[in-house]
Subunit: 208 residues, 2 copies
Amino acid sequence: MSEESTREADAAAAEGRPRKRLRADAQRSTDALLTAAAEVFATSGVDAPVREITAKAGVGAGTLYRHFPQRSDLIAAVFRHEVDACADSAPSLAARYEPAEALAKWLQRFAGFIATKRGLSAALHSGDPAYDTLPSYFEQRFMPVLGALLDSAAKAGEIRSDVDPEDLLVATRNLTLPAQEDDNGHTPRMIALLVDGLRYGAPAREAR
Amino acid sequence: MSEESTREADAAAAEGRPRKRLRADAQRSTDALLTAAAEVFATSGVDAPVREITAKAGVGAGTLYRHFPQRSDLIAAVFRHEVDACADSAPSLAARYEPAEALAKWLQRFAGFIATKRGLSAALHSGDPAYDTLPSYFEQRFMPVLGALLDSAAKAGEIRSDVDPEDLLVATRNLTLPAQEDDNGHTPRMIALLVDGLRYGAPAREAR
DNA sequence: TGCTAAGCGGAACACTGTTCCGTATCGTTC
DNA sequence: GAACGATACGGAACAGTGTTCCGCTTAGCA
């Protein structure tokens, strides 16, 4: 994830924060906080105590507030961080698997990402301007990624070619909604089904 | 509001709490808390500090927790209290004004009630079972009241007679939504317009 | 190697929800 | 109206939280 700092800086620039290379220790702290916060948010929700996050990150409270003065800053940063991780996983999947398989694997990955985002909707709609750019960031990062995966698979004749990336993104997200705490693998099964649906109308199949 | 204690007891019975006459001082405390909480919720939202409420009510913290062990209990009680106050205002309006005018005045009153309920939707959807009965309570109390006002006005020939109470309730509520902090009397004007719409098709008018 | 700005840690503070218990009040009985 | 038990009250005390502050440490550079 070497381009992460660049991405962060981009986001910073977009928000008007001064764009500057972080000192090594500051970068370490920031990374540790983002990782710890992601875990804590996933298990205890976004309202988890600050100390739980700083303890897991092995960092003092002052350090957290230095980098993320507002709680919303941290939440938004974690969100962007995970969006990036999910989106960046696509190329390596594309390199390792056949196009349709890469698409299937990435959708599963994406569903996993969405599943950890329960309880964020309340924050998103809190009116805090720190969240204003998140939806568009979500779209900007995921649409091209999914578009590319679809394209490759379609070009390879492994799936049909009349699928709108946005439809598929929304559908996948919605599939994760009914999932309860333990859903016995419901979501992965449903996504697999969706991908099979994509394969159904593929030229390679029609041709035989 | 002499029937209030009865109503409270009804609600209590409906929820399985023991139905019992409160001691005089306990009744005073409860009333003071409900009144104070209503004001505080309106100005500072439902997340306002407990001490702000107890201070305004002139009551100790222990007293609040005695009567409302959970915050959701207090919120629900305030809600019911205000629903009652709004619903109970209809008869006196009906006695003082011509039917259509009473209807208009009550809808304005209802709009005022709704306007103070912003920020409650988050609580309502929090999943706390204490709120489960509130929507039906809302409907049970308001539908008959509005139905009676409509009936009277229709029977007097002052408005058309093909209006569904539920439609009107929802419409009025929705009219208050776009209102900002200072909307320069937007909502009252829109409601007046709505009532004029009701009057338009009235028999008394058609007959001339 | 030494210097300086940047960054760090965590004690300390302010504010919150919640509990607890000695005291006060109510309603009843005689 | 006096006495008494049950009920309710008040607010200090406690525990948990977010946030600030500042002496100390470290990274980067000359």
